[in-house]
């Protein structure tokens, strides 16, 4: 009886975390009421504040405009932590296609939208204990970065 109760307690305690993983949406999104330049600055600050290195910003809109297409501002922000990236690509080369991590940011009128793939999705690429912990941390960090930008004034 005692064992059953203990198991039940453990199950109940882990339930919220389990549900979070199992039912998470694949695409994480947030809207900021800031204009694009301010939202972009807030995004970069938050990425750095979360102790990630911002490695590059891909200016998709510039490429499109130069090629003759009309577009609003559209960028991809690449970021990560070097020791993590090195370790992951050495152990799981297939993960290289998805790294560094990225956030997509684009203007929508006077507001800005930020989109990211939920890192929990990467369990479909590599599913092991260590990586699952890492995916959860990435997901939490990305959610926190998005919250920072959506609350920035």
């Amino acid at each position: 009886m005692r064992h059953i109760r203990l198991k039940l307690i453990v199950f109940l305690l882990t339930l919220p975390g389990f549900l979070n993983i199992a039912l998470a949406q694949d695409v994480m999104m947030v809207r900021s009421s800031l204009r694009f330049p301010e939202a972009m600055a807030a995004l970069q600050n938050s990425v750095i504040a979360h102790k990630y290195t911002l490695s590059r910003i891909q200016r998709v809109d510039i490429g499109l405009t130069r090629a003759g297409y009309k577009t609003d501002r559209y960028r991809i922000v690449f970021f990560g932590k070097q020791p993590e990236l090195e370790k992951i690509t050495d152990r799981h080369p297939q993960m290289a296609a998805f790294l560094p991590l990225k956030l997509v940011i684009f203007a929508e009128g006077d507001e800005t939208i930020i989109v990211a793939l939920n890192p929990l999705h990467y369990r479909q690429v590599v599913d092991d204990h260590d990586m699952n912990i890492l995916y959860q941390r990435w997901a939490n960090d990305i959610r926190s970065i998005m919250d920072d930008v959506s609350h920035a004034e």
Binding site: L6, Q25, E108, Q124, S150
Partner: protein, 345 residues
């Protein structure tokens, strides 16, 4: 005894936090809906929910079921992870924008002549909703349409729509139209009561023509081994990219930006390329496709062998559940495979 007390406290805590606490609708809307529909419901990637012509013509049941089931094959996802209370809280937020009570529609089936309905549909509806009710194409206002057109014609053959909208709701929409959108009142356009019933019956008949698609299992990435060393593989990849109508954008070390210049690992390289026409088309279908951009192949040399890896656009496209995007991404996957195969020879 102590264990029993702990168990009871935990039980109460969990129950009170997950069941009894009223969901914060504004927070839920902000987190799940605002990115597409706007903070104030004025639309964007998604429908302008606050538009009086829309919100005053749909029931809470319709909103609830739309959130729950989404629109399979379109942009609107199914929010199956939200509890009923959470969905209701979101519906309340949306409803409060109108300041008017929600319309309530009868759930009874309307019986009309499906054949006559089909003829009327061809005559009056196909220009906007398509020949088979598939709706307008494209999504976001940012890239695909100006704001002066606040709404694209919905896919009324979509199983999500059909399970959300009652016959009476469709009938009322036909009778009254939707102010501020291209949807006019069809009673005003000369249709009689019976004609409208025939049209509703025809729209409902779309339910029967929806085969359930079985999703094939596909991997999230494409990976090929090269028979050459890094230098020669790079040459082969560049050649294959150019031969597939892509523009080579840049070749950079994987670690660029993370370590000091010159100290990057030469055995990890990314090749970026682009087809701007396809990029433009993809962004017009859904502006969020940047998630699997830019086009790139990553080369990793391990134990003397070079592995070429890329994402699988077809697998990534599934995240958006958009038929139009799936087609384009299937084409992209074929092109990626061609490049990788050619480079691996």
């Amino acid at each position: 005894m102590v264990l029993k007390i702990i168990f009871n406290i935990l039980f109460l805590l969990i129950i009170s936090s997950t069941t009894l606490a009223a969901p914060d609708g504004k927070r839920l809307y902000s987190r799940n809906c605002a990115a597409c529909h706007g903070n104030d419901g004025m639309g964007g990637v998604g429908v302008p929910l606050a538009l009086p012509g829309f919100i005053e013509s749909v029931s809470d049941r319709y909103l609830f079921r739309t959130i729950r089931h989404g629109r399979p094959g379109r942009v609107m996802p199914a929010f199956s992870d939200l509890s009923d209370a959470q969905v209701e809280a979101i519906v309340n937020v949306i409803r409060n924008w109108s300041g008017k009570p929600a319309p309530v529609f009868l759930q009874t089936k309307i019986k009309g002549d499906v054949k006559k309905g089909k003829d009327l549909f061809k005559q009056h509806c196909t220009a906007c909703h398509g020949m088979t009710g598939e709706g307008g194409t494209g999504t976001g206002v940012t890239f695909s349409r100006p704001r002066k057109l606040p709404i694209i014609a919905p896919a009324i053959n979509n199983p999500g729509f059909l399970s959300s909208a009652s016959d009476e709701m469709i009938r009322q929409t036909l009778i009254k139209g939707r102010l501020g959108t291209p949807m006019n009142s069809y009673r005003g356009n000369g249709l009689k009561e019976d004609d409208i019933n025939d049209l509703v019956t025809y729209v409902r008949s779309f339910e029967r023509h929806h085969p359930v698609k079985k999703a094939a299992k596909i991997t999230d990435y494409l990976s090929y081994e090269s028979s050459e060393n890094m230098e020669d593989t790079l040459i082969a990849v560049k050649r294959a990219i150019r031969g597939s109508n892509f523009k080579l954008i840049r070749i950079q070390k994987f670690e660029k930006g993370f370590v000091k210049e010159g100290q990057e690992d030469a055995k990890k390289v990314i090749v970026y390329f682009c087809n701007f026409n396809m990029l433009d088309r993809a962004l017009k279908i859904d502006p969020r496709v940047g998630l699997f951009l830019p086009c790139r192949i990553t080369l990793l040399e391990q134990n003397g062998k070079v592995q070429m890896t890329s994402i699988n656009p077809s697998a990534m496209s599934k995240k958006f559940d958009n038929d139009e995007l799936n087609k384009l991404c299937a084409q992209m996957t074929r092109m990626y495979k061609d490049i990788l195969e050619e480079a691996s020879l």
